[in-house]
């Protein structure tokens, strides 16, 4: 059962969000919130607006109306890197790795405010940049070890298999030390064994590091296994929210997925 305490501000709150693409209303007055320290599932039929919602939260799109808050602070108008700085990190449905760099440097890219990111520091403070690179590298190797990709550290990221790229996406969010991670179909195209490993990793991170997850997933086994609560979206709206068992047996959810005739029966 979902226990929502009134005292804690939600780590993420979406309030009355609207987004139109031309004549199509992708997000239609959608409101939802994500509680700290939970793995919230976001499910719904194709075209329900789940990925669009992610894009709106992370500043990739600007909503037509409505607001997004994290810990009570408004982040609606922030650009993507501004949202990242609030501790919100996301992965993509189709992995977007930096293909011409090694796996290791894909991860080393992530930590914010690196000294060497200001190019003059490379001329003026090479020692400090080098020292920081050493730290970041050690951390990246640690994260690679966690997702079992150490043996591929020096491989071009573009050469990884689909499933390995998914792991790399997860690893990248870990480099950022996020508070909230938005996972867009982390298990799509991933084999059963890897999927089990992936879901163990997510649960471990929630338990040991206190990271909050919001994940879009079509694989119901994974959702039932991992998520509580589950939010159902349909046609740009939040249809319902509840424990996985509640959601599974709810006639309106069935109707949204399978069409009117089942819901009416």
């Amino acid at each position: 059962m979902t226990e929502i305490s009134a005292t804690e501000p939600p780590v993420l709150e979406v309030r009355d969000l609207v987004k139109d693409f031309g004549g199509l209303r992708a997000i239609d007055h959608c409101s939802l919130s994500v509680q700290e320290g939970k793995i919230t599932g976001l499910i719904g039929p194709n075209g329900a607006g789940k990925t669009t919602l992610f894009n709106l939260i992370t500043g990739y799109f600007t909503p037509d109306s409505g607001r997004v808050f994290t810990d009570g602070a408004d982040i609606t108008s922030l650009p993507p890197h501004g949202v990242f700085r609030r501790g919100i990190c996301r992965t993509f449905q189709i992995p977007r790795e930096h293909g011409t760099m090694s796996v290791l440097e894909n991860l080393m890219l992530v930590p914010p405010d690196q000294l060497g990111e200001q190019f003059w520091n490379c001329w003026l403070r090479p020692g400090a940049v080098r020292a920081q690179e050493r730290e970041i590298r050690a951390k990246a190797l640690e994260v690679l070890d966690f997702v079992n990709l150490t043996h591929l550290a020096h491989e071009y990221a573009g050469r990884l298999s689909g499933g390995q790229k998914k792991l790399l996406e997860l690893a990248r969010t870990l480099m950022a030390e996020p508070r909230l991670v938005l996972l867009d179909e982390p298990a799509a195209g991933v084999n059963r064994t890897l999927m089990k490993k992936l879901s163990e990793n997510i649960e471990y991170l929630r338990r040991e590091r206190g990271i909050t997850f919001l994940l879009i997933e079509h694989d119901m086994d994974l959702v039932m296994d991992l998520c509580d609560p589950v939010i159902v979206m349909s046609e740009g709206r939040r249809l319902m929210e509840g424990h996985p068992d509640e959601v599974r047996n709810d006639p309106t959810v069935l109707e949204a997925y399978l069409g009117g005739q089942y819901g009416a029966a």
């Binding site: 790795e97 930096h98 011409t100 440097e105 690196q114 490379c122 690179e133 043996h151």
Partner: protein, 416 residues
């Protein structure tokens, strides 16, 4: 060996040494020693192998190739590192050249002022002019980048091409600015008194005697040193920042912008930064060019000579590789210059085909460059020197079990 040849050999030593440092492999100390020895031998041999005229040609060829190498490095920091399709190299080149000219020349006075107009003439020293050339080009680059970098790929190409043409037409039409359609003359050469008679007053007598056999026509041997040094500074500075976390960010932005933004990188700002750095370098290239040719006008900065040939250089040498940018500049400029001799030699044969063909031989040179570009794009799109896998040199590979950071045999996945 006559004194004139010896003096020229002395001038050739430093550029050859720098070339050796660039080209030789191995550790720093060993490489320096080897480059010193090799430069001494080659500098001593060159005047004996080549006739005097041919050697002067070689020096002026290398000077021009060096200037193109600076432009090519500038383009590499835009296209190679960050993926900007800048077809406006000529614009920044022109801004650098005219800026440096304005800062270093004397304001025309009296009767001369009726023939030659310019906005100002500050008589700054050479180096000041070069730096100002870079700075003003960078400022122009920054102002342009704010609207223009909202565009990508072919649209950016069209916009930058247009901007370069606008800049060229401004210099052509605004007489008050830099003498409009007339050339701007009398751009000072640094230390050109070395080769004059009487020589610079501050020069010790021994040096005066040593340089005595050299005439002002040999100035190019000295300017080659100037160009090599500036090229070396630009190369080292750019190499440093492109192999750093900054360069890593640019490559990330180039490969997959959305993902770089989600990794908390300010994509817009990084794109502007790389564009401005490239503009600065191109401006420096323009300034160095202005002081070399002494007299410049708008027609020097047309897209063929100042933009597209630079693109061919970078594509041939290897986009993303600074060494490749320099190599490409020398190779393409070599082909371009060599083609002139080839067409001269082939003119009897051309005459047989059509009597007026030799006079149109110049177009054959362009055809050659175009064919070369076609071959590169088809058969070796990554260029002669491939982009390295490892980006940051600030990161050491020491104490890593999985070993090598750079696998020369691995094929890089295609750029998206």
């Amino acid at each position: 060996m006559q004194q004139i040849d010896l003096a020229r050999a002395v001038f050739l030593f430093l550029p050859l040494f720098l070339l050796g440092l660039l080209a030789l492999p191995g550790r720093a100390v060993l490489r320096t020693v080897a480059a010193l020895a090799l430069a001494a031998v080659v500098a001593w041999l060159l005047p004996q192998v080549f006739e005097r005229g041919a050697l002067t040609y070689l020096a002026s060829f290398s000077t021009m190739a060096g200037i193109y190498a600076i432009l090519s490095l500038g383009l590499n920091s835009q296209w190679g590192l960050a993926g900007h399709v800048n077809f406006g190299v000529a614009g920044f080149y022109a801004v650098g050249a005219f800026t440096s000219a304005l800062f270093t020349t004397t304001m025309p006075e009296g009767a001369l002022a009726a023939y030659s107009q310019q906005a100002f003439g500050l008589q700054w020293p050479f180096l000041g002019g070069v730096i100002m050339g870079g700075i003003i080009a960078a400022i122009v680059g920054f102002l342009i980048s704010i609207p223009v970098l909202r565009l990508r790929t072919d649209f950016l190409a069209i916009a930058t091409l247009g901007i370069a043409e606008v800049i060229r037409f401004i210099f052509q039409n605004e007489r008050w600015l830099a003498n409009g359609p007339q050339p701007m003359r009398g751009i000072p050469r640094p230390f050109d008194c070395l080769f004059k008679d009487p020589a610079c007053s501050w020069l010790p007598q021994g040096a005066v005697d040593f340089l005595a056999p050299l005439s002002p026509r040999d100035y190019v041997f000295f300017y080659l040193i100037v160009v090599s040094l500036i090229l070396a500074v630009v190369f080292i500075a750019l190499e440093r920042i492109s192999r750093s976390p900054w360069g890593r960010m640019l490559r990330a932005v180039r490969d997959e912008e959305a993902s770089a933004a989600m990794n908390g990188k300010n994509v817009t700002w990084r794109r502007i930064e790389s564009f401005v750095v490239g503009s600065f370098i191109m401006g420096v290239g323009g300034a160095v060019y202005a002081h070399y040719v002494v007299s410049i006008d708008y027609s020097h900065f047309n897209p063929l000579f100042a933009t597209f040939i630079v693109w061919v250089m970078l594509m041939l040498g290897g986009s993303g590789s600074n060494k490749g940018a320099i190599l490409g500049a020398f190779v393409v400029w070599g082909v371009w210059s060599g083609a002139a001799f080839m067409i001269d030699a082939a003119s009897p044969a051309l005459q047989l085909i059509s009597p007026d063909l030799p006079s149109r031989g110049a177009y054959l040179r362009w055809m050659l460059v175009a064919i070369m570009l076609g071959l590169i794009v088809l058969y070796r799109p990554q260029g002669v020197i491939k982009e390295r896998k490892k980006v940051s040199d600030f990161m050491s590979d020491k104490g890593d079990a999985s070993g090598e950071g750079d696998d020369a045999t691995a094929e890089q996945p295609a750029r998206q």
